[in-house]
């Protein structure tokens, strides 16, 4: 029992990172209706930028993090403004995200050089505590990662619910044409969504790097795959569903890993297939009645 709880605690930082990445995907999917496969690679640019600022420009970890996130916000904003907006239709946009993956993967070594980067932990050490008589510990940095992600997610949800921006985004997601007729600047909304989603991704990437101390091009590969799974488990036509899915998946992986370490992912995949067979719209998705 103690073992299980310890494993769950160990996967806390993954929950945080995954939830942030998935939030970014949801924002772009809802506003531009494109599954942004380039999410991972744009986020990686943020991690590289932060690591670059820290090592070569001499900033401290906090400023470097902020710098990376800001650069990614601008990058996302530019991607939407320059490329995505000028393309009509669904498959073309997905193709663009694939093109971006190819482009950015090649561009990162050209810009940042080939010397490997690393990123330090924000907080060192572990917190030891007893819970129901069990000796447990949690890494201080992981707790920070989880807390910061939760806070950012909370802020985004509150903003979606209560601010003018949130209203704009929700109306754009619901019906773009009507929203623009009602005076919502849908172009600004989508550009901001791209910016914020990239920033979320960059924050996730930096946090991930701080925990694993590793900055590489492929660092977010598994996170992207898991966030896509979270996306369909939670139901991609709701705002909060994917975040719940993001919380479920790492913890499910912990439990499945106890059954068989080698086959955990395959088992998870099988379970998700069964879930989709039963409920095609995901856990929190709703079926839309089509108009004939």
């Amino acid at each position: 029992m103690a073992n299980v709880l310890q494993l769950v605690l160990n996967s806390l930082f993954q929950v945080g990172v995954l939830a942030l990445t998935t939030m970014g995907m949801t924002l772009t999917f809802k506003t531009v209706s494109v599954a942004n496969f380039a999410q991972a690679i744009t986020s990686t640019v943020g991690a590289f930028m932060a690591a670059f600022l820290l090592r070569d420009a001499g900033f401290n970890a906090w400023t470097a993090t902020f710098g990376g996130v800001a650069v990614c916000f601008v990058l996302g904003y530019i991607i939407d403004n320059v490329i995505i907006r000028n393309i009509a239709g669904g498959s073309g946009r997905i193709m663009i995200t694939i093109g971006l993956i190819v482009l950015i993967t090649a561009a990162i070594p050209l810009v940042f050089g080939l010397i490997p980067f690393s990123f330090p932990r924000y907080y060192m050490g572990n917190l030891n505590f007893t819970f129901l008589g069990m000796e447990l510990y949690v890494s201080a940095n992981a707790l920070f990662v989880f807390g910061l992600s939760a806070a950012v997610l909370g802020i985004i949800f509150l903003a979606l619910r209560f601010t003018k921006w949130g209203l704009g985004v929700r109306s754009t997601a619901s019906n773009k044409v009507v929203a623009s007729m009602m005076g919502v600047n849908t172009d600004l909304m989508t550009a901001l969504s791209w910016g914020i989603s990239s920033a979320c991704g960059a924050l996730a990437a930096v946090l991930y790097a701080s925990q694993t101390s590793l900055v590489s091009i492929t660092m977010l590969g598994t996170v992207l795959a898991n966030s896509l799974l979270a996306f369909i488990v939670g139901g991609y036509n709701s705002f909060y569903g994917p975040s719940v899915g993001a919380a479920i998946i790492p913890i499910a992986l912990v439990f499945l890993g106890m059954i068989s370490g080698l086959w955990a992912t395959a088992l998870l995949y099988a379970i998700i297939m069964v879930l989709i067979l039963i409920k095609p719209t995901g856990l929190f998705g709703t079926k839309t009645v089509k108009k004939v």
Binding site: I87, G92, I96, A106, L228, L229, I272, I276, P280, K290
Partner: protein, 360 residues
Amino acid sequence: MTLQNEYAELAKACKPHYLRRVARHPFFGYIVLMVMLVVVQLLYMFTGLISLTVSQAINTTMILAVAALGVGILLMMAGLMSFGTGAFMGLGTFIAGNLLKVFDLPFVFYLAAVALAGVVIGVVVGVVSLRAKGIHLLIITMALSGIMGTMFVLPNTFTGGPSGLSGVPFPTLIFLFDTSRETMYFVVLVVTFLLIAVTLNIINSSIGRAMLGMSQSESLAQAMGIYLLKYRVLAFVVATVYSMLAGALYVASISSSSPYTWTTALSMNILVAVIIGGTAKPAGVIAGSFIMFCLDLAILKSIPFFVENPTFSVFFMGILIILIVMKYPGGLMWMLASLKYRLQTFRTMRRLKKYGPDES
């Protein structure tokens, strides 16, 4: 109307247009292409005018074009996207490779076995992921290909672990002819040609119309008696079978298969090739494959700058993709069609300017 004029008209009417009729046959262009590729290989084998790099690049491109044909049907006809192409190709190579190592049968049997496996896998994955519209298939195939990628690398006898499958013998044809690296090139061409014919049949038949109708309007398709799930799964099965056949061709002509080749990146490249072509018609798909793969493998690899800086060639491809999707969203075929239209208009305008309006 005099006798002589009558005669002139008669002669015109019974003049045989054999050449024109041949040129109008739907397979004519593809046959010409195949003959050209055969000539390229013969030049490589007997004269050395063509380098080994180019011959191998064309071979690989044709194999990938087979997979792209399936993806073309899935994407351009049924409007669905899959990231599983690469992983299914890999599965095809391992199944065919193991069979080739154990049994000594004509090549057709391996192809049939692999195609059968493709049908089974396609139906299972398709039925699960295609019940709801949207990005389900995309995400599930992406996850599937990730999982299959990791499983290929696990140490086992089926895939040969991280080092992959190697030393696969070249297959025999019809019990008689042994093949080699050079002659497998022709086998690949023949199989490709047959699959092109099948693709054309699918596009021009009731199946193709049903898929197109379905991708445009689901309610229309249902009202016309089209069972959506059936045709979605069918499109996916076709794509899976094609990619697994491509895998079988790959392992038979290259005689080895590394698990690191079969990534999502390969699937994405194949998707991009189809998008560049812009149509499900084999002409577009093959043109797209040549731009996407042959350009890189045969031409960029022979320019010293790109050989020294491989990242630049990737960078270049990325920019090419984005530019093509932005500037020509309809793909190459659309570009050609619009060029043809412009040329026609130009000619008509010139004629009208010189001779005035046509006498009706």
